[in-house]
């Protein structure tokens, strides 16, 4: 068993993901793979990459759900069903069960910033952490035999060879819709904390008691077009073009 930091970490680094504007384009997914396959730890391998049964290791995936709200907000014009794109990676939980279950100390939560990492030197590939994670956020790399997971791009965020603006996770930097934001949730004045407060940011599966650091912003409220139908003012004499031309003459006199 491995222990979590005994005190709350002074920083809680993580992501806030805006489900109101995620279009499910997979930019974050692929840019994450591209960055991390040459970055921290073993490469993210692909098995049968051109074969019938292709698979690979990814640290971030998007799940697409079709939901029909029951008694909830109906926003469709042609139907009620909607598509939600849901990106998912390690949530860097405060009470991370993947850490406490680790028999070798390979999984650990950094005392400084709360990032949950795997020390691949110590990882024996037993897979207990993946079983313990309620979010399915860890993936065993079949070629390396070690557990891979989101590092919040730890080799980017402190990287002084980068311009400061680029010291963010690859997924955040690349997201075309600006649906992903990186910051310190321990600081109530950070942009991510303010965003969460203003938009009602949510924990994923709070009942699991893992206290995830990452947060999700729910879709903004919407209203159907049909509600505006009565707003269009009715002009007089709308029945045919004659009334229109009479109005037009009046307009032309005013120009």
């Amino acid at each position: 068993m491995t222990t979590l930091p005994s005190l709350p970490t002074p920083k809680k680094l993580g992501l806030v993901i805006d489900l109101d504007i995620c279009v499910g384009c997979h930019a974050c997914v692929v840019n994450c793979k591209e960055w991390n396959t040459g970055g921290y730890g073993a490469a993210l391998s692909d098995q049968h990459p051109y074969g019938a049964d292709v698979s690979g290791t990814w640290l971030n995936r998007i799940h697409t759900f079709e939901v029909t709200p029951e008694g909830g907000e109906i926003v469709g014009e042609a139907g009620d069903a909607r598509i939600v794109h849901f990106p998912k990676s390690c949530l860097h939980c405060e009470d991370a069960p993947c850490v406490t279950v680790c028999p070798t100390g390979a999984s650990y939560k950094r005392a400084e910033d709360g990032i949950v990492l795997v020390d691949e030197e110590k990882c024996i590939g037993c897979g207990l952490c993946a079983w313990a994670c309620p979010y399915g956020a860890r993936e065993m790399d079949l070629a390396a035999g070690v557990m891979k997971k989101c590092t919040l791009c730890i080799d980017r965020i402190y990287n002084e060879t980068f311009e400061e603006v680029d010291r963010v996770p690859a997924c955040v930097r690349t997201c075309p819709a600006s649906a992903r934001h990186f910051g310190d949730f321990a600081d109530p004045n950070s942009a991510v904390s303010i965003m969460v407060a203003e938009r009602g940011g949510m924990d994923l599966m709070p009942e699991q008691g893992t206290k995830p650091v990452n947060k999700y912003l729910p879709p903004r409220p919407r209203k159907p077009l049909s509600e505006s139908a009565g707003m269009l003012p009715l002009a007089e004499n709308t029945a045919d073009a004659k009334g229109f031309f009479a109005w037009l003459d009046g307009m032309l006199d005013r120009i």
Partner: protein, 949 residues
């Protein structure tokens, strides 16, 4: 607590960063390519680049796998087995180029039209078009005919510009954004950046699309319209706005042809044309002096209604009068179109109300004085912050030209074109119709060993500009600019193989194609196309299409069907220019172009296609490619980009011109130009002065700027053409009133489709399908992580879309007893396919859909023969014929828009039945073999393992 390991967190990630331009789709973003140990370590978006501003999509981020794909070809190939077998031997470039030169040179001397040269999704049409013109064949076009020519042609003919490459929504200011079906690889990052911007500032985003995925998933309102009925929705909105008097009269008078007088003289050759003075200037009726004067006369207050007497005694009325009478007809009322569109009248009226409220009650103003082309000074730019965007969803129907015209008409009526918050032009647009050439390709335009007398593609102003012979027979192999498709401004690539196979209008000898997967996802009637490519002439034993030259970087399905393969480089190994002469990447506020350069050297015997074209041009001694002694004028494409001049001082690139590199637009060639681009991140951007940024069509400062930059030699303002005179000329020919008169066989169709005011008619494919027999629509959508057929060879992207189900609405599932995972037969009038389904309710309830171009021919693209792309993936293309069913007289029309010839992919109608057995998708073609023993793909990838820390 265990001690945490010490991590090296501040290591440089690469040896070098090289900035170039992406080509993982048509978006053309700036990228930073990080190189380590001579390999690509990482590709990210270039923060300084105006197109993507640092972001990069899934495709762009997967560039490493595209570059190192095992599907890459490695040397020129000469076919050794029968066509379609995939049997080739590798040959030298010298042999390949000499073979091609022999074939092409013989044709050029004997009969240049026997070469059909068509290019696919390339971005070098300025060069390929020039090459084809110098070669002298009339048979050249790029892929616009099967892509989105309706969007371009309708836009240019109506407002002098079009969506995407010629304009964009004012993302920073618009308050209501309405998007009609788009392919998600067209302008993909700018649209995502833009949607995010407007959602974050509370602007409203309405998506009109039968399918609620991608952008529609995050839209504030999703309008799940029935395919092919968009014009009815738009014209119902026009009807409502007219009724509510929510139109911008001042804007219409200043910037459109609303006041122009239309001659009312039925049964004469001038009926419905604009009344003009002796200089050809259109006339208006001046209300103060009650006289007919030339449009644009200073101080004139033109009438917009009424019947007026012309100096010659004939009657005429302003075109706006006809417009109002047409669209106030109750047949355009929301209630009247509700059933056909599948939308409630309240939704349509609500959208009209939101447009009216936003345009007129939330108008914005930019405090910047400017002067219009009439010399009038304005104190500010007034904006109607409603913007629209549309692409293939409305374009790829046989009524798509008129639908697109309707959408532009709506924008002009509310005064939102090129205003703050509206749709804004991107330089070098706007450009009036008369600044575009007319097409060339009639018999008198070409001949043995000489160039075509003008550009292939353009816009006919009337039937007199058609490319037909004295009998009305098409001059071009694709029948573009014939009575079949008079305004086929981008050609009709989708008809080339079928027509060449049929010898109609004539057989050809050499088919030369680039980056167009015609033996698979780029053709309708895929099985039929493969047969046409392999059919032989019984008498001679020769292939019906005798010689096929094809250039591609990858082992696509088309490779197996060609005789000679010229292997291209990847986008990271080549020079390219993204040119203002071609498909521009400007922004509304800036003129922009860009280059690609070899950020990594090829590790195999491949050459950039454009360099190969220059080499072939020189070997053929084409003017412009070799001098009088046959000496090549250009060393390679890089040399051409720098030194070629289309007009004096105007070359492929606008930036860093002149001997000092300080000239923009016009200037002498600069030998250091490419170096300057590379230093600047591989792009060039010149800002438009603020007083020139809006109302460019009528803004004197912008017009002067355009002349200074070299877009035009004199100012070319645009008057928006709500009423289209060229269309009316075709109608007069359709009535036999104007020469050349349309043949009897085409008259009804021309009268129906060439209305000078935008209108809706039932798409032909739908009209031809018996509703009881084929009751449902079937359409495809582009996934955001794939670019047409390119994604599946990419080890990372194919894990996102390995196969494509058919998404079937719950209502149809229930009617046919279907559940997710079932296999079904999907049948059209032409063919049937067997596919696996998935239930969905996020779609128009009479429409099924699937992802485009995921399905692959087994054996192609270096995929395993049992890869899901081949066993479960499928194309709707098998169900779509390039011809419509025969009419009573046996005539079969092309399955295309009758105005532009745009391929009508989305007119498909189907029925669905549960299949008894599952297993694999059908049709199931035999696997094609890997050409010339290219190495087997690896069974495992650990890309970057050598850099593991």
């Amino acid at each position: 607590m265990s001690t945490e390991p010490r991590l090296a967190l501040s290591e440089p990630i690469a040896d070098e960063v090289r900035k170039t331009t992406c080509y993982m789709c048509a978006c053309r973003c700036g990228i930073n390519v990080h190189l380590k140990d001579g390999k690509i370590r990482y590709i990210e978006g270039n923060r300084d680049h105006p197109v993507n501003r640092g972001v990069l999509c899934a495709k762009g981020s997967a560039g490493i796998m595209q570059h190192y794909a095992p599907a890459r070809l490695r040397a020129p190939l000469l076919r050794t087995g029968p066509r379609g077998s995939g049997e080739f031997r590798e040959i030298s470039w010298d042999e390949a180029l000499e073979t091609a030169t022999g074939w092409l040179g013989e044709v050029r001397a004997r009969d240049p039209r026997k070469l059909a040269f068509f290019t696919g999704r390339d971005q070098s049409q300025s060069l390929t078009g020039f090459w084809a013109q110098q070669f002298g064949t009339p048979n050249y076009a790029a892929h616009g005919g099967f892509c989105s020519v309706n969007m371009a042609a309708a836009g240019i003919m109506t407002i002098g510009g079009a969506f995407w490459e010629f304009g964009a929504p004012d993302w920073d200011r618009t308050k209501l954004f309405v998007m009609f079906g788009v392919a998600e690889d067209h302008d993909s990052n700018p649209i995502k950046i833009g949607i995010s911007k407007l959602k974050q500032r509370g602007a409203r985003f309405v998506s009109v699309n039968p399918v609620r995925t991608g952008y529609s998933a995050v839209a504030d309102s999703w309008v799940g319209i029935r395919p092919g009925t968009d014009a009815l929705l738009v014209l119902a909105i026009v009807h409502e706005l007219l009724k509510a008097r929510k139109i911008d009269i001042d804007y219409l008078i200043r910037y459109s042809n609303a006041p122009w007088l239309v001659i009312d003289a039925p049964d004469t050759a001038d009926h419905g044309l604009f009344a003009r003075d002796e200089d050809g200037k259109p006339l208006v009726f001046e209300t103060v002096t009650e006289r007919v004067v030339a449009a644009g006369a200073t101080g004139a207050r033109p009438a917009l209604s009424g019947s007026h007497r012309l100096p010659d005694g004939r009657r005429a009325c302003p075109s706006f009068h006809l417009l109002v009478e047409k669209y106030l007809d109750p047949k355009y009322a929301p209630e009247a179109v509700a059933e056909e569109t599948g939308l409630s009248a309240a939704t349509i009226r609500g959208l009209a109300a939101e447009i009216a409220r936003t345009a007129f009650d939330e108008a914005i103003e930019i405090d910047q004085p400017w002067t219009d082309i009439y010399g009038e000074r304005h104190q500010s730019f007034v904006g109607r912050p409603v913007s629209f965007h549309a692409m293939r969803g409305i374009a790829a129907h046989s009524n798509g030209f008129q639908t697109t015209r309707a959408l532009h008409l709506l924008q002009v009526l509310i005064g939102s074109i090129d205003c703050p918050g509206g749709f804004r032009f991107e330089p070098p647009y706007p450009k009036p119709l008369d600044a575009h050439p007319t097409p060339h390709g009639r018999a008198e335009h070409f001949g043995s060993n000489k160039p075509l007398s003008g550009p292939h593609l353009g816009f006919p102003r009337g039937p007199e500009d058609l490319l037909i012979d004295d009998d009305g027979k098409p001059s071009r192999i694709d029948k573009a600019f014939s009575w079949d498709a008079p305004i086929a401004a981008h050609g009709m690539m989708h008809m080339v193989i079928a027509n060449a196979h049929a010898g109609d209008p004539y057989p050809i000898d050499v088919l030369f194609m680039y980056m167009a997967n015609m033996a698979w996802n780029s053709s309708m009637n895929t099985a039929g196309t493969m047969k046409m490519l392999t059919d032989k002439d019984e008498a001679t034993g020769e292939y019906r299409i005798p010689k096929i030259i094809y250039s591609d970087a990858y082992d696509s399905e088309m490779v197996a069907y060609a005789d000679l393969i010229l292997p291209d480089t990847t986008y990271l190994e080549r020079y390219d220019c993204i040119s203002l002469l071609d498909r521009p990447i400007s922004e509304p506020d800036a003129v922009q172009d860009a280059i690609r350069w070899p950020v990594i050297e090829p590790d195999r015997d491949v050459r950039g296609f454009q360099t190969v074209m220059l080499d072939l041009g020189a070997r053929l001694a084409l003017p412009g490619f070799a001098d009088a002694h046959g000496v090549p004028l250009y060393k390679d494409y890089a040399d051409y980009i720098v030194r070629h001049e289309r007009r004096p001082g105007i070359g492929p690139l606008a930036g860093f011109r002149g001997s000092e590199g300080d000239r923009a637009g016009r200037g002498a060639p600069n030998p250091d130009q490419l170096k300057r681009y590379i230093e600047n991140g591989s792009f060039f951007s010149a800002h438009i002065p603020l007083e020139a940024q809006f109302f460019k069509h009528a803004n004197q400062a912008y017009q002067d700027f355009a002349v200074k930059m070299g877009f035009f030699d004199t100012p070319k303002p645009v008057i928006f053409q709500l009423y289209s005179e060229p269309l009316q000329k075709f109608r007069l020919a359709g009535e036999g009133l104007r020469e050349p008169a349309a043949p009897e066989s085409h008259r009804e169709r021309i009268m129906a489709a060439f209305d000078p005011l935008p209108d809706w008619y039932r798409p032909f494919g739908e009209a031809a399908a018996d509703e009881g027999e084929f009751p449902y629509h079937a359409i495809s959508q582009r996934p955001m992580a794939m670019y047409h057929s390119w994604g599946s060879m990419n080890a990372w992207l194919r894990q996102i879309h390995t196969k494509n189900p058919l998404y079937v609405p719950g209502k149809i599932c229930d009617a046919h007893g279907l559940v997710s995972g079932d296999w079904v037969w999907l049948t059209s009038r032409h063919s049937r396919i067997k596919v696996q389904i998935q239930r969905t309710d996020a779609v128009n309830d009479g429409t099924m859909w699937t992802w485009n171009a995921v399905g692959k021919r087994r054996g192609a693209w270096a995929l395993d023969k049992n890869a899901p792309e081949g066993t479960k993936g499928f194309l709707l293309n098998h169900l779509i014929h390039e011809l419509l069913p025969p009419k009573k007289d046996g005539m079969r029309w092309s399955n295309s828009d009758p105005v532009t010839g745009q391929a009508a992919w989305y007119d498909l109608m189907v029925r669905i039945e549960k299949a008894d057995t599952g297993g694999e998708a059908e049709p199931n073609f035999p696997a094609i073999s890997r050409p010339a023993d290219l190495p087997e793909p690896p069974d495992e990838l650990r890309y970057g393992q050598e850099w593991a820390s």
